[in-house]
């Protein structure tokens, strides 16, 4: 019975994990959405995207949608408040802090509430029931996007968005929600108003999407099978060759999985008439770790560089401070972005809180 149950769960996870490569997405959701998207007049295109995003999110966790809406309202409001109080440094800062705090609280609530409860239970030998909240799809990416928007508005590097309609489109954008790239407001602000829809963009985007799909389905999934076999074997008895094979297959799987999803996201965006930043640049040719982080999930590392490392002083304030800054960034990467790094577990992360905790804390 248990065995049957676990088999069933496994199948469920598989279908969940494959959102972009599922038949429903490729042959019902996407064609219908594109048809409507291309037909409607320009000012309704964002509406189509918002509705499509909501359907896409509902596929995963419908309960997150109201939270996402409220966060969007808050970001929008804070952004405008910062703009209104441009001369008043104190007020500006207040709104920035409100927005950052609430966003982070929500993220930490989803990620760590159950961990904290179980720690308290363990520490004081009491029994507060766990909440068992599934981690909603894209919660980390939403946080990154919201934070980059509000910080950029605060710094004055972007203008605050005057239209809530456009801001909501930005914050609910779905192509990148599974594995990035992280889209900054400054990258797409013009395209939120004026999309570059053309046959050339459609063709380029679709080709890019197909390449990504191939990376994921044809390469990552198949080398993943090899890795799974080795991973589930006995590590004490493993031969050197097999161990290397395991390392190589894992490295290939995680790269093709991750960059495949990024390709699909970039391709989809292109079809919709938007340009996302590149996310991978042949990371495995890197000669140093530093170079690797410049080539691997570029939008994530540059996010941390621009919003945390450099504001803390970067490498300009002496070696001690630089090391401190690096440690801070690394700790935050672990806390904030773990689910992004462990893309392999993306399905499990989204759908099974128990497993999710296991991945992080074991």
């Amino acid at each position: 019975m248990d065995n049957q149950k676990s088999k069933y769960n496994k199948e469920k996870l598989d279908t969940k994990e494959m959102v972009f490569s599922s038949i429903v997405f490729l042959y019902i959701f996407l064609p219908l959405m594109l048809l409507i998207y291309f037909i409607v007049p320009k000012k309704f295109k964002n509406l189509v995207m918002i509705i499509a995003s909501f359907i896409f999110f509902a596929w995963g966790e419908i309960r997150y949608i109201p939270i996402m809406l409220l966060l969007a309202v808050m970001d929008y409001w804070c952004g405008n408040k910062i703009n209104q109080n441009w001369e008043n440094k104190k007020a500006k800062r207040k709104y920035l802090m409100i927005d950052i705090t609430v966003n982070l609280l929500i993220l930490f609530f989803f990620k760590y509430a159950d961990f904290i409860i179980s720690s308290i239970n363990g520490l004081f030998r009491i029994n507060i029931p766990l909440l068992n909240i599934p981690l909603p799809i894209g919660v980390s990416f939403n946080t990154f996007q919201s934070l980059s928007y509000i910080i950029d508005v605060y710094r004055g590097t972007v203008k605050c968005e005057k239209s809530f309609y456009n801001y909501l489109t930005y914050t609910t954008l779905f192509p990148q929600i599974i594995a990035g790239p992280i889209v900054r407001y400054e990258t797409v602000d013009e395209e939120l108003v004026d999309k570059k829809i053309s046959m050339d963009n459609f063709s380029c985007g679709m080709r890019r999407f197909i390449v990504g799909l191939g990376k994921k389905v044809l390469i990552a999934n198949n080398v993943g099978v090899l890795w799974n076999v080795i991973e589930n074997g006995n590590f004490n008895e493993i031969s050197v060759v097999l161990a290397w094979l395991g390392i190589i297959s894992f490295a290939l799987q995680i790269y093709f999985d991750f960059s495949g999803y990024s390709d699909m996201a970039i391709g989809l965006a292109k079809i919709f008439g938007m340009d996302f930043d590149e996310n991978f640049n042949y990371p495995y040719i890197s000669k140093t770790i530093t170079e690797f982080w410049r080539r691997w999930h570029i939008t994530l590392s540059s996010w941390f560089r621009d919003y945390i490392y450099i504001p803390l002083g970067g490498n300009r304030k002496g070696l001690a401070k630089q090391i401190r800054n690096i440690i801070i960034v690394w700790t935050l990467t672990r806390c904030l972005a773990w689910s992004l790094m462990e893309l392999r577990f993306v399905g499990i992360v989204f759908w099974n809180n128990t497993n999710y905790r296991k991945i992080i804390f074991d």
Binding site: K12, T15, I23, V24, Y27, I28, W59, S203, M206
Partner: protein, 376 residues
Amino acid sequence: MKNKIFFLIFVTVWVIIVILNFVLPKSDFSEQENRMYATIPRFSFKSFVNGEYLDGVNDYVNDHFAFRDTFLKINSWWEINVLGKKEINDVYVGQDSYLFEKFEFGEEEKTTLNSNTKIISDFAQKMNEQNIKTYFILVPNSIYINSDKLPENVQAPNQEEIINIAYSNTKNTVNVDVEKSLLTENKNQQLYFKTDHHMNSDGAYVVYKEFCKSANIEAVTTTDFNKVKVTSDFLGTFDSKAQIWNQEPDEIYVYQNENNMNIKEAIYDTQNTQSIFNEEFLLTKDKYSYFLNGNNSRAIIKTNVNNDRKLLVVKDSYAHIMSQFLCQNYSEVHFLDPRYTAFDYEQYAKENGITDVLFLYNVSNFVEDNNLRKIS
């Protein structure tokens, strides 16, 4: 220019498939895969919120995708010839067109095995009290008998050991060892279907002969039968699962003689006929159901053999192909399938004047099936 060509080709193909998906007629049952297709889930707020509705939609669309069968065949071609896979959907692609279903014997299977042997022992004891003899046959599967045909480096559990465990656990019964003669005879002729999980008529005959030896009855010799090919176009359950693009089909033979061609009556769940064979099934995908009219909870065969011996067979589908032989030596054979029934078999044996009981199972089903408990 390049973009234009790509755009035209891609969009045309895509649009055609999308439209065909919507307009092509949908059937409820898959002949190819021998199973019911998923149905459109009923919408409710609750099922929508917990994701069941969308999962259901996903299953429905997957099952009803245009040219699904063709795509599955393309997939099997790709996996075997391009990726060099030897396993598709839990089916091993072996040598000489042999297919095998993955078989594992873990803790859970051990538990099931032990509980099933206990049930048989208890039942046999009750039968002994009424002077009814109980026989037990555990038939090994193709994956063990034909293990030399498995893909390289694939290992299957040793079913001889499993049968030994089962037989040593089962008390009060006559345990019939069929495994050794199947292994020996398999060298001379094919005893199992290549595309299906059952043994064929030749395999069934080997089992029948061993049973007769243990039961002290005289087996009808092969020369007294007329061996007839009823179809050469049988693609069984293994092929349904794997959908091999160029699978060579199996042939189905029957050993016919007066005893099994001319019977008094056959009582099935929904119909009474005068045959243990049902030719209608030969025209469908599910050709194995030719034997004993497919899966019935109960099948009673009344023969023209006048010896007043009545055999009760508690069985899985491996017994269906055995029916052509079992009705040689008994005036009545009652086949009961615990998977589809739940009542007191002891009472049944009493009421129907049963003189012998036979538990007939195949190994992989015996260690997985928890339905035997329903017999008491």
